[in-house]
Symmetry: C2
Subunit: 496 residues, 2 copies
């Protein structure tokens, strides 16, 4: 039985139980070997049924957090090295020099293997298809095709399918945002939304401020478009450091800021809503557009869907990009951008570079969203992603050498791992790839190719023996590399 199956059956109540127990363990209230609260006691305390607690405990056992002792009950598992639990990767400091970005072939291979079923998918941030609403979406596709067969084959020119834009606009109401469906431009995934936004607000040679570490596709775009990147210090919990950004805005001619404010990729940080407001006000003052990538916003582990910068945007300077690629169907390529004052110009870019959009998948997505299934699906999905992330974090801490630091994101499904200084993460990635395990090297997330001792780990796939073996093997590889280093150092000493 996989973690995701537990997650799929219960929803919020069940979430509440696992969260409660994980909190007790993470804060050290419950230590390894301690007895977990009794089923009956917790059921009473949290006002949920005993069977819900039972299911949650069973999942926590899968997670490696609890262990069952026959005739005795649940105990906290003693195997997680307690001392490492709270150690997040350090906030990095960045030189304030704008840099050209160079990529080359660094990740050609990682994407080539992304769809290879023989490779353990810890590389690209790809959600497992078993977590996606395959049946629901294909039913919606079938409905759309039978209702409007001709429309499915016809051109659908920008800004895209009106019903879909209406459904997307409707989802912003919960964030207190009133979006006109005509302000939404449908794109081929969030990738195209980001590309069009950057094309619209910058020109060759301009300086763009980005988080550090940054989602590599943004860096790749910056490279391709001949822009310069300034990397802004970012905190693993709260994201872009606003004081650092303010300083950069005062001293440089920044033409745009790009950021994943909710569950940043790779560090998983979430900028508090008050900070988002300060960010928007700061950029508004400086008259600099913000390109916010909200692709992970729906995948929050807490109860509240975090806000977006657009909520605080009074001058139309925020371009909000997103997609359903991480939550419904990567392969349907339904993304969008709300470009506000840049709408007209962005539409022209869209018309020039890719013009019409795939009609059938837009019609299907509109139908799926209208059916109301998405919200129910999201409850299950968020729960599954959270358990996968937590399980991966526990297992990495268990199997990686002491000194590894790992983020503890509140959403999304990637982990950012700081390995001991001196570890060559690219070497680890290459060795792992030879054993059919994919990983992302940290240097891909920086214009200056730093983060050489970091890796990003995808947690989009439900835990299973194959992933467990891969994590164990990664730990072994790290120890092997450490041994070789020690050898070559002592050889060097002997030589010297």
């Amino acid at each position: 039985m996989t973690v995701s199956m537990h997650a799929a059956s219960d929803g919020f109540l069940y979430d509440q139980v696992t969260r409660h127990v994980l909190d007790l363990v993470e804060k050290g209230t419950l230590k390894p070997g301690d007895r977990a609260p009794s089923l009956r006691g917790l059921s009473k305390q949290l006002k949920v049924s005993i069977s819900t607690v039972n299911q949650a405990y069973s999942a926590l056992q899968d997670l490696g957090v609890l262990r069952v002792r026959p005739q005795s009950g649940y105990y906290v598992d003693g195997q997680v090295p307690q001392s490492q639990q709270a150690q997040l990767p350090r906030k990095t400091t960045n030189s304030r020099k704008p840099r050209k970005v160079r990529f080359g072939e660094l990740f050609e291979e990682i994407f080539t293997v992304a769809n290879d079923p023989d490779v353990v998918p810890l590389g690209a941030a790809v959600p497992a298809t078993e977590l996606m609403p395959v049946k629901g979406l294909l039913r919606a596709t079938q409905r759309a095709a039978s209702r409007h067969p001709e429309k499915a084959l016809e051109y659908c020119f920008p800004p895209g399918n009106r019903d879909l834009r209406h459904e997307i606009a409707r989802r912003y109401v919960d964030l207190g945002l009133s979006v006109d469906p005509d302000d939404i431009i449908v794109t081929s995934g969030c990738s195209e939304a980001l590309a069009l936004s950057l094309e619209t607000v910058t020109k060759r040679g301009d300086i763009v401020a980005v988080e550090s570490p940054t989602y590599f596709s943004v860096l790749r775009l910056i490279e391709r478009m001949g822009l310069l990147a300034v990397e802004i210090d970012s905190d693993p919990q709260t994201g872009i450091c606003l004081d650092a950004l303010e300083n950069v805005l005062e001293t440089m001619d920044i033409k745009a800021v790009v950021g994943v404010l909710n569950f940043s990729n790779p560090i998983g940080s979430m900028m508090p809503d008050a900070a988002k407001q300060r960010l928007v006000e700061m950029l508004s003052q400086a008259d600099v557009p913000l390109i916010e990538d909200d692709i992970y916003g729906d995948i929050h582990f807490g109860d509240q869907r975090p806000g977006i910068a657009k909520c605080y945007d009074k001058r139309g300077l925020v371009l909000t990009c997103s997609s359903f690629s991480k939550s419904i169907a990567p392969g349907y390529r339904i993304g969008w951008v709300i470009a506000d004052r840049y709408r007209k110009d962005l539409m022209e870019w869209k018309q020039a570079t890719s013009s019409a959009m795939c009609s059938l998948t837009q019609m299907a997505m509109a139908d799926y969203l209208r059916s109301g299934e998405y919200d129910r699906h999201l409850v299950r999905l968020r729960s599954a992603y959270r358990l996968q992330v937590e399980k991966m974090r526990f297992m990495l801490l268990k199997h990686f050498p002491p000194g590894a630091r790992i983020t503890s994101p509140q959403g999304g499904f990637v982990l950012w791992v700081e390995l001991p200084r001196g570890v060559d993460a690219l070497e680890l990635v290459n060795r792992a790839l030879r054993e059919n395990i994919s990983l992302m090297p940290g240097m891909m997330f920086s214009a200056t190719r730093k983060y050489r001792n970091y890796v990003r780990v995808n947690c989009g796939t439900p835990w299973d023996a194959r992933i467990e073996n891969a994590v164990v093997r990664l730990g072994e590889l790290l120890r092997e590399m450490d041994g070789e280093n020690a050898e070559s150092s002592s050889a060097a000493l002997a030589d010297g």
Copy 2:
């Protein structure tokens, strides 16, 4: 009964009959009022059944070429002004100065109305859905989704679905071209193929040579990317004038040539294969890449599918772009590019700007192509397009003022109309749009905004009363405009 229904039922034999009669009329062998060859005689001469000749004659009657006299047989219709039949638009001469391109809102509205069922679709080059293989393609879509439901939702990263690339490669065998499926990069329609090609081979400020008139999306791309366009004289029958191009290559630092060599948009010219060879050799000598847009290549009215420049490319300098948007499904957005020596760089642009492609429509298209239905469909489609183009040409000559010159393309489905000098085509387009008739003004097809007395007419829709009324009305609008001009001239004379 519409023309397309005749066309759909008969195929090649039937085509042969209509072509034969049209030739006799166009060459003046048969004049208005002459009796058409007898059914029996023609059946014997062309070695086809009497019923095939009968069907063809019935279609020619719909076309307005023949008229039936009860008890007497078929006669050539006397209404087509004989004197205008052979008049093609003149070859234009172009200044050799590289130009910035400016578009603005010129065609925003034309695309906004492109999907509006209330507007007569003579503007955008949109094929009528009734000509598309709706049932066959949706069946293929359904098959693909049921066989591989999970794959339909998964990311499909560049270069795209392997089965689809294999099917596309297979189609080049008939042109004597051996294409490795891995050399094909699937794109979002031909638009994205062209955009990626231009991004790959040029940078801001570079000069690009284009046909004149040129497909407006190419001009739009040139504008957006900050390139300069040099317009090369082109012949309505053979396309880009190679001597003019040679001269430009010798005197300017041209970084790329873009052309629709088969059934150019808008003039419908087809460059003879020998000229294609000379073009490739010339560019090879000059080390300049050719971006060939072959989107209309499959829609040839003659028996032979024309070759492509790629057939003569020994140095990998030709980027061949195409799509199924004009022949199978505009809304499936399946285009591709064979980028040869530029493949790696183009792949990086693709990954940076839109990354993965829609999975389901690629799977469906691969399945549809594999089924073999496409070739049968193409026979019907080419026949339908040809009749629509010929009917439109006849009717425009009939209803437009004397002096109008109209192309006689050998493929594709657009007509390029040169109106009498002094006619403001943009004014005509605006008046027509107010009466729910869309048209493309000629100036959209030039970087220098010339072709002010030209319009492009889409013939993608089977002839019906609505289109006929629209053509009649366009003729009236032209006469009204002429009357107003005459009035204001005489008023000016009176004033003076």
